[in-house]
Amino acid sequence: MIRAFATGLRVHLVHLLRSPFDLVAILIWPVIFASIAYYLIGTEGSTRVLFVASLGAAMMMLWSQVIVGSGFSLDQQRNQGTLELLVAAPVPLVIVIAPVMIASAAFGIYGLLVTLAWGRFAFGIPIAIDHPVAFVVAAVAAIVSIGLLGLIAASLFVLSRAASYFGVALQYPVYLASGLMLPLALLPAWIDPLSWVLAPTWGYRALTHASGGGGAWRDIGMCVLLSAVYLVLALPCLAWFERVARDRGTLKLS
């Protein structure tokens, strides 16, 4: 199972690195989001505020890559006729699907680097990371937890080809509910509890706190806790949706 998981990660990462769509998207979108934030905040904002906006833009891309990129990736497997083979493989479905999600999230790190470099060279925002070790750990925790949040959605992706489009619809609601690039205090109070159960909230906070101010380990701990919860929720969802897809014979329908 470890070999299947590691191979899945490697193959999907190579696939992403060969995909012009993903490479261009992850280059353009975080830069556009960050630029909008920079121009809106303008010179009135401190470099720290602009740096945090960069982290928000990067986290947005990470979530999008998982929820949209992996959805369409599974759809592509369906179109190419390999989804059935993946589902029929003699390892648990989670071992096949989880690498797709985690590799997509890991690919989002490219977006983080691009955004930080863009901020540095285009807007002169210094890359100031006070706690580099915590920052790296926070990035890994964010990748895993967001990837596993995507795993819950993946069970739907297995069931229906239209489900991957729900991934498109889920981008902005999660940006909002996670307070990426904007303070949660501006949003209605009922969104607050929702933000607690979303990995991007804690991943973003962990990166922000690790880059300055400290206190990132509590947020990293929340990422780890949520990862476990997502996995527990995703396993029965995947099993159930796989059974439904097999019963209906819809795995091949594209």
Binding site: I36, Q171, Y172
Partner: protein, 261 residues
């Protein structure tokens, strides 16, 4: 008569066959939920930055919704022909290219208009934005001009299908750039001079300017110059799209590359 048949039947058939988002399970999440939440997100971002009122972002993102539909819809109308290997047959026909591609643009424009209207109505309702009803007619005119300009840009993107395996790369990158460069989410005066200069030659910019001026109480006659400019930009892109298609068609015939994928 044949011109009109190609225009109407060709356009409608192409839309029904190749506009994948027509399925309600895809239309709802991609063309309703996504743009509405995009609008809500940027309204809140605007409130956090305190640089413009909510109406600025509701109008901006409604127009962007039309642009995305135009770019992807028109692009796919051509790229889809190639994917399903009907492009050589289409190009072998003696039909007028203007009738062929204008016919494909009209349903996409209508679709963009509907999507932008839904986004505007829901976005305004959710964020509590009210605009004087007297402005609705003018807003519709500005939106129609922008839908045409964006479908024309989509025609240029679609022509690239002769050279690229997927036009999604271009459509996605351009739709991202439109969020910024057209002033949809950032007041133009806050952008660098070079971007302000470029924005004048990009679809949406003049339409957005017209719509926002109308929302402040101006009359339609006040914004006619902006609407005219938007239509001129659209006409330029449409002509460029047709020329690109003609060039790539000739090149494809010479190289025998229509079916190379």
């Amino acid at each position: 008569m044949n011109w009109l048949r190609v225009f109407f039947h060709g356009g409608l058939t192409s839309y029904r066959a190749l506009f994948a988002w027509i399925n309600p399970w895809i239309f709802l999440p991609v063309l309703v939920v996504y743009p509405v939440f995009q609008t809500v997100f940027f309204v809140y971002l605007g409130r956090a930055a305190d640089v413009a009122d909510d109406a600025f972002f509701v109008i901006g993102n409604s127009f962007v919704a039309a642009a995305v539909t135009g770019l992807f819809g028109m692009g796919q109308a051509i790229a889809g022909e190639r994917r399903f290997q009907t492009l050589p047959v289409l190009l072998a026909s003696p039909a007028s290219r203007l009738a062929l591609f204008l016919g494909r643009a009209v349903p996409t424009m209508a679709n963009g208009f509907v999507v932008a209207t839904i986004t505007f109505v829901l976005g305004a309702a959710l964020m509590g934005v009210t605009i004087d009803r007297a402005a609705y007619g003018g807003l519709a005119l500005a939106l129609a001009a922008s839908c045409f300009a964006c479908a024309a840009l989509g025609l240029c993107v679609g022509s690239l299908t002769f050279r690229a395996r997927s036009i999604g790369v271009f459509a996605d990158a351009i739709s991202a750039a439109l969020l910024l460069v057209t002033g949809a989410n950032v007041p133009l005066e806050r952008l660098p001079d070079v971007l302000q200069s470029v924005s004048a030659y990009i679809p949406l910019t003049h339409g957005l300017h017209a719509a926002r001026t109308l929302a402040t109480g101006a009359s339609v006659t006040d914004v006619l110059p902006q609407i005219r400019d938007e239509l001129l930009v659209g006409a330029a892109y449409f002509a460029a799209g047709l020329l690109l298609l003609r060039y790539f068609e000739r090149d494809g015939r010479r190289a025998g590359s229509f079916e190379r994928f």
